[in-house]
C-alpha cells in the first residue's frame, strides 16, 4: 500500500467513559466482553476529571459534562505525544461535538427559584430576577455548549479554524470530518476533533423514554443493547452513556517527522439525511447507502476493499433495520464468491455515547485488523449476513468504515485505512 506524506493520519486518541479512561482500557473492555449491569452504570456523575488534567483550574467554570470532554482532550495530549512547539498556534485547530443544554446547568438556579416562591408556594418569576442575583456570576458560562472548544483550544494553543457541532449523535463525526477537510485544504497542520456528552441524567432519560428509543430496564442480569435482534428479542432500544472521545489528525509526513505513532489513515467521510423531518427515517436506507457509496467513490475505494464495518448498531429496532438495509444495498450484490466484511458492534459495551459515539472506533480499527477477528461482544447476529472475521483476501482490503446514524434520519460515515501497528 503506497503511503503519501500528505495523507491524513490519526496520531492520538483520548477517551473517557464510565467504563474506562484511555483507548487501551477501552480495548480491554471489548476484548474481555465487559458489559454493564444497568443503565446507571453508564453514568459518569462521579467522574474525577481533575485527576487527568495538568491544569485543573480549567474546570472552575465549566459543567460536569464539559469536564469529561476536557479529560479526554488531556488523554489526546498524552497518547498523541503532543508538544506545545510541534505546530504553530494559528495552524492548530480544535473541532468539537457537544450536547445542547443540560439539566445540570439549571442546578445553580435552584436556590434562587426556591427563594422566589410566594405565599401559595409557586415561583414568582419576577422575584426570581432578584433572587438569582445571588447565584455565582459564572452560572451562565457553565452552560455554554462551546466551553470545551474554548478551554480545549487553550490546552492545545489552538488558534486556527474551529467549530462546535450540536447535531446529536452525529456531532463527533461532523467534528472529525470538518477538521479533516481543513487539513486537506492546507488550512491547518494539526487538529483535534471529537465529541462529548452526558445524557444519563433523569431529564434526558425521560425524553428518550418518551420517544420510545431507550432499552427498558428488565429483569435480566445485564442491561446490554441487542443490535439487530429483530423479532428474536423483546428488549430493544438504546442505552444512554456518558463519555468523551477525541482524535488527533495531522499529515503523515509531519507525524512521522515528529515521531508520532500512527494509528490509522483517514481517507474520507460523508453525511446525508433522509430529509423526512424529526424522528423519521427511510426504512429502505437509500440515502444512507448512497452516502456510503459516494464516500467510497470519492476515495476511489471499491466496496470489496472494505474488510471491516464498525456499525452504528444502536439497538433501536427501526434504526438498526435502516442500517442493515443500507449495508445490503452497498455490499449485498457483490456476487457469490464475495466474502463479506466483518460487522462490528461496540454499543453492547460502551452504550450510546451520543456526541462522542463513533470516535473510539477510529482508534480501534488497526487493532481489530491486527486481531483478525471481532471480540465476541462485538459480533452481530449471523442473520444480518456479515462476518465476524476480517477477510484477508488481498492487501488491498485494508479499509474500514465507521458508521453513525440517528433516529432523526441523519447519517455519517468515516472511511479509514488500516495501519500496521
Amino acid at each position: 500500500m503506497t503511503q503519501r506524506a500528505d495523507e491524513l493520519v490519526i496520531t492520538g486518541v483520548g477517551v473517557a467513559s464510565a467504563g474506562a479512561y484511555g483507548l487501551e482500557a477501552h480495548w480491554e473492555l471489548l476484548r474481555q466482553g465487559t458489559v454493564k449491569a444497568n443503565a446507571a452504570a453508564y453514568s459518569m456523575r462521579d467522574f474525577k476529571a481533575a485527576a487527568h488534567l495538568k491544569e485543573p483550574r480549567l474546570l472552575k467554570a465549566v459543567s460536569a459534562t464539559d469536564a469529561i470532554g476536557l479529560a479526554a482532550l488531556a488523554d489526546v495530549q498524552r497518547t498523541g505525544a503532543w508538544t506545545a512547539d510541534a505546530y504553530p498556534a494559528p495552524r492548530t485547530g480544535l473541532y468539537t461535538g457537544s450536547p445542547g443544554p443540560s439539566s445540570f446547568d439549571l442546578c445553580p438556579y435552584i436556590e434562587a427559584m426556591e427563594a422566589a416562591r410566594d405565599g401559595d408556594g409557586s415561583i414568582d418569576e419576577g422575584a426570581f430576577g432578584r433572587t438569582a442575583m445571588s447565584a455565582r456570576p459564572t452560572t451562565l458560562l457553565a452552560s455554554l455548549a462551546n466551553n470545551v472548544l474554548c478551554y480545549g483550544s487553550m490546552m492545545f494553543n489552538a488558534q486556527g479554524p474551529n467549530s462546535n457541532y450540536i447535531s446529536g449523535e452525529l456531532s463527533g463525526h461532523l467534528a472529525v470530518q470538518h477538521a479533516a477537510k481543513r487539513l486537506r485544504r492546507q488550512q491547518l497542520d494539526y487538529v483535534v476533533a471529537g465529541g462529548f456528552g452526558a445524557h444519563s441524567e433523569a431529564i434526558d432519560t425521560g425524553m428518550y423514554t418518551h420517544l420510545s428509543l431507550l432499552l427498558a430496564e428488565g429483569s435480566e442480569s445485564t442491561h446490554t443493547v441487542m443490535p439487530y435482534a429483530g423479532g428474536e428479542d423483546a428488549r430493544r432500544g438504546m442505552v444512554l452513556a456518558d463519555g468523551a472521545a477525541f482524535v488527533a489528525l495531522e499529515r503523515r509526513g509531519a507525524a512521522t517527522a515528529r515521531g508520532a505513532k500512527i494509528l490509522a489513515t483517514y481517507i474520507g467521510g460523508g453525511i446525508a439525511s433522509d430529509g423526512l423531518g424529526p424522528l423519521r427515517s427511510d426504512p429502505e436506507g437509500v440515502a444512507y447507502s448512497r452516502m456510503i457509496l459516494r464516500t467510497l467513490t470519492q476515495a476511489d475505494v471499491d466496496p470489496t476493499q472494505i474488510a471491516l464495518i464498525l456499525a452504528n448498531a444502536s439497538g433501536i429496532d427501526a434504526l438498526d433495520s435502516v442500517e442493515i438495509n443500507a449495508l445490503q444495498r452497498v455490499f449485498g450484490g457483490l456476487g457469490a464468491a464475495y466474502e463479506p466484511p466483518a460487522l462490528g458492534v461496540t454499543t453492547r459495551v460502551f452504550g450510546n455515547l451520543m456526541e462522542a459515539s463513533g470516535i473510539i472506533e477510529l482508534g480501534l480499527v488497526s487493532r481489530l485488523f491486527a486481531h483478525g477477528e471481532l471480540p465476541a461482544v462485538m459480533t452481530a447476529p449471523a442473520s444480518v449476513g456479515f462476518s465476524n472475521r476480517l477477510p484477508s483476501r488481498t492487501p488491498a482490503a485494508s479499509y474500514a468504515l465507521v458508521l453513525k446514524a440517528s433516529p432523526w434520519g441523519e447519517y455519517s460515515c468515516i472511511l479509514l485505512r488500516r495501519e500496521d501497528l
Binding site: 430576577g129 442575583m133 461532523l174 423514554t209
Partner: protein
C-alpha cells in the same frame, strides 16, 4: 462524474435568497426598512416577568404569525419559539431563491444552521425540573430543547438530503454556519446550502445569566437608547431575538437556472482567541486574524472593503477591542471602511446575529446604502473607527465584511461582494 473533494480551485458562491425575522419586522424587507429608518424597537420585556431583574428591556419579536401550511402540527410540536422564527425565515429565503424541485439534486442540497441553546424557563422548571416529573411531561416540552430540531424540519421543508449540520459557538454560531456553508459549496461538497441562524434568549434564565456577568445594559428607563455600540457611555448589550436564513448556491447552478443573484460570498475567516471565555484579547488576537483570513481567502484587498458590520455589542470591552482590531487590519486613514453595528436596531440576536448582519451587508451592497449608526451620542475615542452617519447614507460599495465574536473565543469574518 464523481466530485473530487480535494480539488484545489474553489467554486464561486452566490446568495440567491434571504429571509429574516427580527424585532424590526417579520421579513427581510421590514427589517431592512427599520434599519434605514434608524428604528430601535427595544421596550420593556413582555415574554416573561423581568420586573425585578437588573435588565428589564429587550428587542422582542411581536405580532409574529407563522404562515399556515409550512409545517405540520406534528413538526410544530418539536419546535421552540426561535425555531419557528427560523422556519418562517427559511420559507421567505426559499421563495426569493425560487428554487423548484428538480433544479438541484437533493443529495447536493444541505442544511447548515447556527442555533441558540433553547434553554428552559422558570415555568418549565417549576412544573417539571423541581418536582422531578421527568417521566410525566409530554414529548413536546422535552424535545424542544434539542437544538438540532430546526435543521431536521428545514431539511424536510426544502427537500435536502445532503446532510444537516447544527453549530453552536455562542454569538459566532451563525457566522460560523454561513462560513461552513460557503466552504461546502466552494469546495464542491454541495451545490445549494440553506444556512443561517435562529435564537431567542429572552427568558429569565438567560437574561439573568448575562446580568450576572454584567454584560447587559441597565438603561431600563431609555430602552431605545440603551444599545449604543461605540458610544462612550455604552453599558452593555440589549437582548434581541429572531432568525435570518440565506440560500447559498454554486454560481454555475444559479446562472444556469436563471436565479436572481443578490451578492457573492468571497471570503471566510475563523479563529480562536485562546484567551478567556468572555473577554477579548486586549490586542485583538483572534478577530484580527479572522478578518485577515477572510480577505486572503477571497483575494480581497483591504482597501476595497467599504463597509464593515461590526459585532459591536455595546459592551465596553467588545467594542474597544473590535475597533482596535478593525483599525489594525484596515487602518484609520481616509480610505478606511465605514463601520456600524446594527445591534442598536435589532438587539443582540446571539446565535442568529452573524446571519442577520451578513444579510444587512448584502442589502447595503445591493442598494448602495450605508446603514446608520444610531445611539452614538459621543464616539468613544478608544474606538478608532470611522462610524457611518446617524442616518442611512447613499454610497458606492463593492465589498462589505461582517464580524462575529463569540463567548468562548470563536471569531468569524465573512466578506460579501456586490453583484452587478
Amino acid at each position: 462524474m464523481p466530485h473530487d473533494p480535494m480539488r484545489p480551485k474553489k467554486r464561486r458562491v452566490v446568495v440567491t435568497g434571504i429571509g429574516a425575522v427580527s424585532a424590526l419586522g417579520s421579513n427581510l424587507n421590514d427589517t431592512w426598512n427599520g434599519i434605514l429608518e434608524g428604528r430601535a424597537p427595544a421596550a420593556a420585556v413582555t415574554h416573561f416577568d423581568a420586573s425585578q431583574a437588573p435588565c428589564k428591556i429587550a428587542y422582542e419579536v411581536n405580532d409574529f404569525v407563522l404562515p399556515e401550511g409550512l409545517i405540520s402540527d406534528r413538526e410544530r410540536r418539536f419546535l421552540n419559539t426561535a425555531m419557528v422564527y427560523g422556519v418562517k425565515a427559511v420559507a421567505e429565503a426559499m421563495e426569493q431563491a425560487a428554487l423548484v424541485p428538480g433544479q438541484v439534486d437533493p443529495e447536493r442540497l444541505a442544511v447548515c444552521l447556527g442555533m441558540g441553546l433553547c434553554s428552559a424557563d422558570v415555568d418549565w422548571c417549576e412544573r417539571i425540573f423541581l418536582p422531578k416529573k421527568y417521566a410525566d411531561p409530554s414529548l413536546d416540552e422535552h424535545i424542544r430543547f434539542n437544538p438540532e430540531q430546526l435543521a431536521s424540519v428545514v431539511a424536510r421543508l426544502v427537500g435536502a438530503k445532503g446532510g444537516n449540520t447544527t453549530i453552536h459557538t455562542a454569538c459566532a454560531s451563525s457566522g460560523q454556519s454561513l462560513g461552513e456553508a460557503y466552504e461546502m459549496i466552494a469546495y464542491g461538497e454541495a451545490d445549494v446550502v440553506v444556512t443561517g441562524g435562529a435564537d431567542s434568549m429572552i427568558n429569565s434564565f438567560s437574561m439573568v445569566g448575562f446580568d450576572l456577568l454584567g454584560a447587559m445594559s441597565k438603561r431600563n428607563d431609555a430602552p431605545q437608547q440603551a444599545s449604543r455600540p461605540f458610544d462612550v457611555g455604552r453599558d452593555g448589550f440589549v437582548m434581541g431575538e429572531g432568525a435570518c436564513m440565506l440560500v447559498f448556491e454554486d454560481y454555475a447552478l444559479a446562472q444556469a437556472r436563471g436565479a436572481k443573484i443578490l451578492a457573492e460570498i468571497c471570503g471566510y475567516g475563523v479563529t480562536e482567541s485562546t484567551y478567556r471565555i468572555t473577554d477579548l484579547h486586549p490586542e485583538g488576537r483572534g478577530p484580527v486574524e479572522a478578518m485577515q483570513m477572510a480577505l486572503e481567502d477571497g483575494g480581497t484587498a483591504a482597501a476595497k472593503v467599504g463597509y464593515i458590520n461590526a459585532h459591536g455589542t455595546s459592551t465596553q470591552i467588545n467594542d474597544r477591542v473590535e475597533a482596535l482590531s478593525i483599525a489594525k487590519v484596515f487602518g484609520t486613514g481616509t480610505g478606511a471602511p465605514k463601520v456600524s453595528s446594527t445591534k442598536s436596531m435589532t438587539g443582540h440576536m446571539i446565535a442568529a446575529a452573524g446571519a442577520m448582519e451578513l444579510a444587512i451587508c448584502i442589502n447595503a451592497l445591493r442598494f448602495q446604502i450605508l446603514p446608520p449608526s444610531i445611539n452614538v451620542f459621543q464616539q468613544d475615542p478608544a474606538c478608532p473607527v470611522a462610524l457611518t452617519e446617524a442616518v442611512a447614507t447613499p454610497t458606492e460599495l463593492s465589498f462589505a465584511l461582517s464580524n462575529s465574536i463569540g463567548f468562548g473565543g470563536s471569531n468569524t469574518a465573512l466578506v460579501a461582494r456586490r453583484w452587478l
